[in-house]
């Protein structure tokens, strides 16, 4: 019973203690549970993270390889394109060089020859100078001729004047006008007068009958030149014809073309002409006018006429068919023909051995 009293005395404490001990454990339990949970969760988290890390690493490796692969492919493509471009540029540059040379050559050879043009222009300018010279000479020559003709005309005129003025010549008694005693020398006209033959009066020409020939049209209009009729024409002369028909009608009638009848328009010998035509046609086509005789007995008595070509003594020429050279044995120096000699090989001459006697080391 003591225990029970003790227990009962401790009962409230036991209660409290029981409660406290239980709740204390609970408190700790919660704390520990929480701690355990925390630890577990942390650990789980670590596990998962480690797994994820592992996954990431693997994925990185895969991606790395994949990206490397794809990049390399692109790079190779780039390199290929760059190489191709480089090649094409090179080819183009070379092609441009070829084309440049070719175009220059073509233009210079076939289209435009610069030096020829220069030469041509020089020749043209030389011709021009020559022509200018020639024309200048021609003009000068013409001028000289004209001046000469002018001088001659003047000379002739002065001569004529001197002949007309012959009476002004000075005589022994009396000096003439041009021979003044006060001047040292006589005037040149004086000398001219001395040289001139005096002009005689024109003798009256015998009056000829009126001739029809006159030198100019104006002479015809002067009164004296008209040939007058001797007697007046009779009064009852035939009247002048008129009024006139229209000139076109007259000409039409005069120049009307011939309109023969049908019978006259046909030529008479059409039949003969047709026959001639036919004969000509046939003879054009036929080589042999003889009638064809089928059996050889018909030709028995006929002699065979060979071709002229084969029956002449000159015969068909064998030159050009059988042999092609004209040979004249009389002109040959020796009777032997040419010998074919092979030249030596350089190789064998190095070795000292020769195939033929020609080229032997002397």
């Amino acid at each position: 019973m003591a225990t029970l009293a003790r227990l009962q005395g401790r009962a409230s404490i036991i209660e409290n203690q029981y409660y406290f001990r239980n709740s204390f454990v609970d408190k700790f339990r919660k704390r520990e549970n929480d701690a355990a949970i925390k630890i577990q969760s942390w650990f789980r988290g670590c596990k998962v993270r480690a797994y994820l890390r592992y996954l990431h690493k693997q994925v990185t490796i895969i991606q790395k390889w994949w990206r490397g692969y794809v990049g390399r492919k692109k790079y190779q493509l780039l390199v290929k394109i760059a190489y191709y471009t480089m090649k094409m540029n090179f080819y183009n540059a070379m092609a441009v060089r070829i084309q440049r040379r070719w175009r220059g050559y073509k233009i210079r050879k076939y289209c435009f020859n610069y030096f020829y043009l220069k030469e041509y222009l020089r020749a043209v300018s030389e011709t021009n100078d020559a022509i200018r010279e020639a024309l200048k000479e021609f003009a000068e020559m013409k001028e000289r001729e004209e001046k000469k003709a002018e001088l001659e005309r003047e000379e002739k005129q002065r001569d004529h004047q001197a002949r007309k003025m012959h009476y002004l010549l000075s005589t022994k008694q009396l000096p003439g006008i041009y021979n003044s005693p006060f001047s040292k020398e006589p005037d040149p006209w004086e000398l001219r007068l001395q040289k001139a033959k005096p002009l005689t009066h024109r003798r009256p020409k015998a009056r000829q009958k009126h001739s029809i020939s006159l030198h100019s049209w104006l002479a015809c209009t002067s009164t004296r030149s008209f040939p007058r009729s001797e007697v007046l024409p009779p009064i009852n002369r035939k009247q002048c014809q008129g009024p006139f028909r229209d000139i076109t009608e007259v000409l039409q009638q005069r120049y009307k073309p011939l309109e023969p009848t049908l019978r006259a328009a046909e030529p008479m010998n059409t039949l003969k002409e047709a026959r001639e035509d036919l004969r000509r046609d046939e003879s054009m086509r036929n080589i042999n006018n003889n009638m064809f005789l089928p059996f050889s007995s018909y030709h028995k008595n006929k002699n065979y006429l060979p071709l002229i070509h084969s029956s002449s003594k000159y015969g068909p020429d064998s030159c050009g068919h059988q042999h092609f050279r004209d040979e004249n044995p009389k002109k040959w120096i020796s009777d032997k023909d040419f010998q074919t000699v092979l030249p030596s090989f350089d190789l064998f001459s190095r070795c000292g051995k020769l195939y033929s006697k020609a080229g032997q080391i002397v």
Partner: protein, 553 residues
């Protein structure tokens, strides 16, 4: 006795006066039977003589009238009076007169009247005189033929209608018959008349050719008389000028060889006609020109270019021009024969309208190809054309010279440089801008400037254009600068120092237009500072900057 003496003297008188058979027989009969037949025979002789005297007086009067009219008709001041006095109506019956000399003088007078003006010529046609003339042309003597041909020529020369009237009355056949006459004067008159008829138009020429005149004219050319040769050559020239078929007819009659021979003849007027005939033949087609050239006229024709007579020179230049204008080969032939130099000298020695064919010939030759243009340049053609352009007073010659210069300069930069060096471009520009020039001259000078500028790379000649030119030409000038400046450093320097860059900056151009592009390409040739320095208003902007600048203190 006294009566017999009187009758005998009368008989002698009548014999002296007339001398023909009938009255002398009458007088002889009178003298024989003087004693017995006093009254009756004497009276018959006397009245018959008086009657005949009346007729004689009438004839004398007619002759005198017609000769006076013919002489008065030579002076132009009398012709009006004659016309008002009704001379046509009086002359017409005299053409049908029985006395041949009166006929001839009447025809001559009619010819002179009709020659003066076309009213009188029409009056001749309307008065139905032509059929009678034509009819009697075939039968009368040569004086009448000459006079009648003169009338036909005088009528036919005024207008095509009158010439057609002559053709309608059938005069062509008779004129052609006259061409076969022996007398050279008749041939000349007939050929002249045919030439004047054929001059007007192609139908009349064709009518003349159909009448068979051409072979006879070619025969006339070969005659020794110079006047006849002249007229025949001029008639052939008038026939051939209308159409290629007519020219071919003339050529087929073998005219070219004879005409070519006559180029050497010393007579100036003949040479004029011959050269004119050859040029009328050659102008129609290439074949005809080649035929003329084959007659070996080069280089003989070039001597005609040095002749004293201006018209011979002009016609020779015309002939060469007509040959040169067809094909480049013919031009080349002329150049190879030295023709260009001769023509240039000829152009230098002539003045006025006689220069025109020469100038045109140079233009045609240069137009064909650049080699020929270069040949013209080295023959010293360009200075001559410039002289022509500046000296000549007439606009059409200036226009021709401008056109020729344009043809020379348009081929390559070398050619344009050759033209620009002679300082013609300012002259052309002034002609284009001046208000007095005719429209044709303005158009041609503008085209010439444009053609030359598009190829010109000679910058000293282009610079004046920057200052004076109107906008449409300025565009081309600036374009040329923009082509040359990017490649030539010396030119760039010169451009700046001469003030050209400054001027270019001052040009106002619409943005996006061709002019603006050219200006931009010029500005790209220079560093920016220089462009800005020369842009207008730069000094103002600098001053503004000075104003707005705050010093650092």
């Amino acid at each position: 006795m006294a009566a017999a003496f009187r009758f005998r003297s009368v008989a002698r008188e009548t014999r002296l006066h007339t001398g023909a058979s009938v009255p002398s027989r009458v007088a002889a009969a009178v003298a024989r039977s003087a004693g017995c037949l006093q009254g009756r025979a004497g009276c018959g002789a006397m009245s018959q003589r008086q009657v005949l005297q009346v007729f004689e007086q009438y004839q004398k009067a007619r002759t005198q009238f017609v000769q006076m009219v013919a002489e008065l008709a030579t002076r132009p001041q009398n012709i009006e009076t004659l016309q008002n006095a009704g001379v046509m109506a009086l002359l017409r019956p005299l053409l049908l007169d029985v006395v041949p000399t009166i006929q001839q003088t009447a025809a001559l007078a009619l010819g002179r009247l009709a020659n003066y003006n076309d009213d009188l010529a029409e009056a001749v046609v309307k008065g139905d005189i032509l059929p009678q003339l034509v009819y009697s042309l075939a039968e009368q003597n040569r004086f009448y033929k000459k006079a009648a041909a003169f009338v036909l020529r005088a009528v036919g020369k005024h207008s095509p209608q009158l010439a057609q009237a002559i053709v309608d009355c059938g005069a062509l056949d008779t004129l052609v018959i006259c061409l076969e006459d022996f007398d050279p004067g008749v041939k000349e008159a007939a050929a002249w008349a045919l030439g004047y008829i054929a001059r007007h138009n192609a139908e009349l020429s064709q009518a003349v050719v159909d009448a068979g005149a051409v072979p006879l004219l070619v025969l006339c050319i070969q005659e020794p008389e110079v006047a006849l040769k002249r007229i025949a050559a001029s008639a052939l020239s008038d026939i051939a000028k209308h159409s290629p078929e007519l020219a071919q007819t003339v050529v087929d009659a073998g005219a070219i060889a004879h005409l070519a021979q006559m180029i050497l003849n010393p007579d100036a007027k003949l040479k004029r006609q011959v050269l004119s005939a050859l040029s009328q033949i050659a102008k129609h087609s290439v074949d005809l020109a080649e035929m003329v050239v084959e007659a070996e006229i080069f280089p003989v024709v070039l001597t005609c270019l040095k002749d004293k007579d201006d018209y011979v020179k002009k016609n020779a230049c015309t002939l060469i021009r007509e040959i040169a204008k067809h094909t480049p080969e013919l031009s080349q032939l002329i150049v190879n024969a030295g023709g260009v130099a001769a023509v240039i000298d000829c152009v230098g020695s002539c003045k006025g309208n006689t220069r025109l064919p020469g100038v045109m010939m140079l233009g045609y030759v240069a137009a064909h190809s650049e080699n020929l243009a270069m040949a013209v340049i080295i023959s010293k053609g360009v200075p001559q054309l410039c002289i022509c352009l500046s000296e000549e007073p007439e606009d059409h010659i200036k226009a021709a010279a401008a056109w020729a210069l344009g043809q020379i300069g348009r081929h390559t930069p070398e050619h344009a440089r050759a033209v620009a060096v002679t300082n013609t471009l300012p002259v052309l520009l002034s002609l284009y801008m001046s208000a007095e020039s005719s429209e044709d001259l303005q158009v041609k000078s503008k085209k010439a400037i444009k053609n030359i500028l598009q190829k010109c790379t000679y910058l000293p000649a282009l610079e004046p254009f920057l200052y004076d030119a109107p906008p449409n030409i300025l565009k081309h000038v600036v374009g040329q600068f923009s082509k040359v400046l990017p490649h030539d450093s010396k030119a760039r320097r010169l451009f700046v120092t001469s003030g050209g860059l400054k001027k270019v900056q001052e040009i106002k151009a619409e943005p996006g237009s061709l002019l603006q592009e050219y200006i931009n390409s010029i500005n790209n040739c220079y560093p920016e500072e220089i462009v800005r320095y020369y842009s207008p208003g730069y000094s103002d902007t600098l001053l503004q900057r000075v104003d707005s600048y705050q010093p650092l203190t």
